[in-house]
């Protein structure tokens, strides 16, 4: 997620005026809404090289829609996710498994968070795999699943929310999940992008009708994709600077992210002997909003299952997603802030000498 695009208010306001009617309404304004919705879906499909696109109100409903639609067109005997997929994805896939009456398996990952070869080899029945294209916490890009999908007859749904624009799309997917909030677009208009241009078979009982959000989603996607290519290289350089500064300025630190086979803008930073919640709030006071995978900073009280799956340190963890357009000066200020804040928290906790 990143701060909203400066145009978002204008896009939403304009489309709310034009598309106030439900797209299902049988009068002129309903047809205007329907046409704006279709145009927005077509824009999304074109931008990401999909056969068609449709909108869903949330990431979870987008995943459910993608899986149930694949299951309606062909027989699948199982659904699967990896050990490092987002909670919202894992929950949605479990719901699909229950609805379809098939098992939900979890594929194990290697030390960098890619689905490992033994767990892929163990898949022995036609499966719908829903997994991340680029990991939301540690940035790792998924292994190439093309040969596996062909050999096993699997369908692949990629959670591409963090990755769209930041990396080239592979060609082994049957559906992609997008969330415009990832690029400063609106909430409430996630997209299911499908390879096939066929109409969805599993027709949702409640059709999507938040047309202003869909219009703003498509406009924000166009804006993001026009600058994403240039954003990649500067983000990659910024991430390398942060990593270098922190490893030089702090002891007891490990980072995950960056590098040639990872998203260019996602970094997970774990430091020994500090309370993550204290780090997070001290950085917030300095104007830097960061996530955390530590148990003490999470609402559930559970540590990040991603860090646990790769054997990473879960305490003292913060995670960073760089928005595009940051200056080198901001990056230096951020690195300084992390070093200062970790040092201060360690002094307060009496762990600086360790």
């Amino acid at each position: 997620m990143r701060p909203a695009s400066p145009q978002i208010g204008q896009w939403l306001a304009t489309s709310a005026q034009r598309a106030w009617a439900s797209p299902a309404a049988g009068y002129h304004e309903g047809k205007v809404s329907q046409s704006l919705l279709s145009e927005s879906a077509a824009t999304m499909a074109r931008l990401f090289g999909a056969g068609s696109a449709r909108f869903e109100p949330s990431p979870g409903s987008a995943v459910r829609s993608a899986v149930m639609d694949l299951a309606a067109s062909e027989h699948f005997a199982a659904v699967a996710t990896s050990a490092v997929d987002a909670d919202v994805v894992r929950v949605a896939v479990r719901q699909c498994a229950d609805a379809l009456g098939v098992p939900h398996t979890t594929l194990s990952v290697d030390s960098e968070g890619r689905i490992d070869t033994p767990s892929l080899a163990a898949v022995d029945r036609p499966t719908i795999l829903v997994t991340n294209l680029g990991n939301q916490e540690i940035g790792t890009l998924q292994t190439d699943l093309a040969d596996w999908a062909t050999a096993t007859g699997a369908a692949v749904v990629l959670d591409a929310r963090c990755a769209l624009g930041w990396t080239d799309l592979p060609d082994y997917w049957d559906a992609l999940i997008a969330d415009p909030r990832a690029w400063g677009g609106p909430g409430g208009a996630c997209a299911v992008l499908t390879r096939s241009s066929a109409e969805p078979r599993d027709v949702d009982t409640e059709p999507f009708d938040n047309v202003p959000a869909a219009v703003a989603a498509a406009l924000s996607a166009e804006q993001w994709m026009s600058v994403a290519g240039a954003a990649r290289e500067s983000a990659r350089a910024h991430l390398a600077t942060i990593g270098r500064r922190l490893h030089h300025g702090l002891t007891g630190i490990e980072t995950h992210g960056g590098g040639p086979s990872a998203l260019p803008h996602v970094l997970s930073i774990s430091v020994l002997y500090v309370d993550a919640e204290a780090l997070q709030s001290a950085l917030d006071k300095r104007g830097f909003g960061v996530g955390s995978g530590s148990a003490c900073a999470s609402r559930s009280g559970e540590p990040s299952h991603v860090l646990a799956a790769i054997g990473g340190l879960t305490s003292g963890n913060i995670r960073v997603g760089l928005p595009p357009g940051l200056s080198a000066d901001t990056i230096e200020r951020f690195a300084d802030a992390v070093i200062d804040v970790v040092t201060e928290v360690r002094e307060e906790m009496g762990t600086a000498w360790l």
Partner: protein, 79 residues
């Protein structure tokens, strides 16, 4: 084992089990540390600490409501 140090971190939550372990390792000449912890986060973070600090996790056992970690904090060759 006479040079074994017992660190009881039961009742503490992340990041304290690892902090207690590190304090004990830094202040005792004993190379063998036995850590007791009941925070499940220790199952992830104690192995991570061992990796980051070049210590060796010899054994993890579930003992009723807690876990018992046996750690070699220094290599016998003095590293």
């Amino acid at each position: 084992m006479s040079d074994e140090l017992l660190v009881d971190a039961r009742g503490t939550r992340c990041p304290y089990p690892v902090i207690e372990l590190a304090r004990a390792a830094a202040s005792s000449p004993a190379a063998h540390v036995v850590l007791l912890a009941d925070d499940p986060v220790a199952l992830t973070d104690v192995p991570a600490w061992c990796r980051m600090r070049h210590a060796e996790l010899l054994r993890v056992e579930k003992c009723g409501d807690h876990w018992r970690f046996e750690i070699l904090t220094r290599h016998p060759d003095g590293r």
